[in-house]
Amino acid sequence: MRPFRVAVAQIAPTLGDLEKNLALHEKMAREAIAQSANLLIFPELSLTGYFLKDQVPSVALRPDAQALQLFRELSQRIAIILGFVEEASGHRFHNASAYFEGGEIRHIHRKAYLPTYGIFDEARYLAAGERIRAFDTALGRMAILICEDLWHPAAPAIAAWDGAEILICPSASPGRGLGQEGPFQNASTWERTIRACGDLLTTYIIYANRVGYEDGACFWGGSEVVAPSGEPLAKASYLEEELLVADLDPGRLRRARVVNPLLRDERLELTLREITRIVQARRTDGD
């Protein structure tokens, strides 16, 4: 990776209003450019809002959609990650995040783990992604995992094993449960999780959460940039819109990996053997 400045747009999109959200994205991009950021990250489903339900097909876009032309152009000046509903072949709809750089989309991550419990109902409306991949950018090797993806420890581990130096997690996390420190119980859990991820995987973690309300659910914000040693480098406010800016330094990544050579000591073949065994056993048990 090279040294660069990241900006996280902690915004409150309007549910199902693409036009309004496009304008908001453009405004944030101009602001991030003014602050000399090299990469701007928007939260999960930033172009559409989160609790879309039956609106999903109405707001879906193909990656070559004219509506996204603006970001192709802006990406000549700043790399951008934004969230949208991707209409894929066969009219399957994905909760996706696209990475724009140098005038084109370089990578799309489709959310692989669709929460369908409690307040969530994603698998009812969306198709699950089938890939977790790190990808090269002008700024460094990155991977995108959307919200729930990060709660399945294999997903961030795969991203790190695939060489990601910067793990990006766009999120739309509605606050739940009474918290004593953070605003909600699940906010504290998130903070523990991403910091542990940084620590265990010795990668930068950028958590981009949204704010605002949808049907009474409050998205709690608190976006943060976590160092490869697990400590938060920059933290956005809870509940408020904000453009969070932080500088990422390859020296810090190197030092973290010198201190904790965990990735060097990974036993991928051992992991693969054991996973294969578990998968086979489950198949036999019919589980």
Partner: protein, 274 residues
């Protein structure tokens, strides 16, 4: 056991943000709230005054001739303390005119009628003032069904529906609702000497603990009883009330005919496009 203690400052921020956001998204900037002099409607008014500014909040007092004078005094205290707009509309003429036709009606019918009379006044003032009706039902009474359907349960935006009664009291103290209001015996004030706890047969302190286990902690009724946390009869009564009142927490059930039925397979957020 689940911690029911609120982080009051955060909850205050979330709820004032909620009122501001949901009211404006609906294209309004004012609310109207029925003030009974009790802790729930007082707290709703306090939150709304903070969220929208006192000039954008209308508190409406709607006494019946048997209402306790103390109720109106307490409601007026809230109006004074917050500097919100207020208005008194007596419901006695309408309610008495109706029961002139049905003089044998029992307390339940009379209480429900009063609650619905008040609802029509609030919604009329919603149109008159260009203001959304702010709800005052808390989680305890919603779960127990201790409210009048389309009466006091009716509103456009309800900031209190996910707070148990004991939490309403905690937050009210934090926001500076007068102590006399927070500490008095909760009452629907439908007849003299009526109190919620006497009518329900248990205290809010007790029932909130049970509801917390059953609802938030996902305990089964059997788990609560097996762990001897509460008296079996009491736990079963709470569970029964919750189940029996489920209809009050849902839209009227619709007979399915078409391929897309409202709220069943026609599903949009209320904040659709907002």
């Amino acid at each position: 056991m689940l911690n029911r203690q609120l982080n009051c400052e955060t909850v205050r921020k979330v709820l004032t943000g909620f009122i501001d956001n949901e009211v404006r998204k609906a294209g309004f900037h004012r609310v109207v709230v029925g003030l009974s002099g009790g802790v729930d409607s007082s707290l709703s008014a306090y939150l709304a005054a903070e969220a929208l500014g006192p000039a954008n909040v209308w508190g409406i007092l709607m006494p019946y001739r048997t209402s306790s004078p103390e109720s109106a005094e307490h409601a007026s205290m809230v109006v004074q303390a917050l500097g919100i707009n207020s208005l008194t509309v007596e419901i006695t003429p309408m309610v008495d005119a109706y029961f002139g036709i049905f003089p044998d009606a029992d307390q339940l019918r009379r209480g429900n009628k009063m609650a619905r009379e008040r609802m029509t006044i609030l919604f009329d003032h919603s149109a008159r003032l260009g203001a959304l009706v702010l709800g005052t039902s808390n989680k305890t009474e919603l779960l127990l069904g201790y409210g009048t359907l389309y009466g006091d349960m009716a509103s456009a935006v309800n900031p209190l529906g996910d707070l148990y009664k004991t939490q309403v009291r905690q937050l009210s103290r934090h926001l500076g609702v007068p102590t006399v209001i927070v500490e008095k015996q909760p009452s629907a004030d439908l007849w003299e000497g009526q109190t919620d706890e006497a009518e329900l047969g248990f205290t809010y302190e007790e029932v909130d603990k049970v509801l917390c286990l059953l609802v938030d902690q996902r305990y089964e009724v059997g788990d609560v009883i097996a762990e001897c946390l509460f008296d079996e009869k009491f736990v079963r009564a709470v569970a029964r009330k919750m189940q029996a009142s489920q209809y009050k927490r849902r839209l009227p059930v619709i007979a399915k005919i078409s391929s897309r039925t409202i709220d069943r397979d026609f599903r949009y957020a209320r904040d659709w496009g907002r």
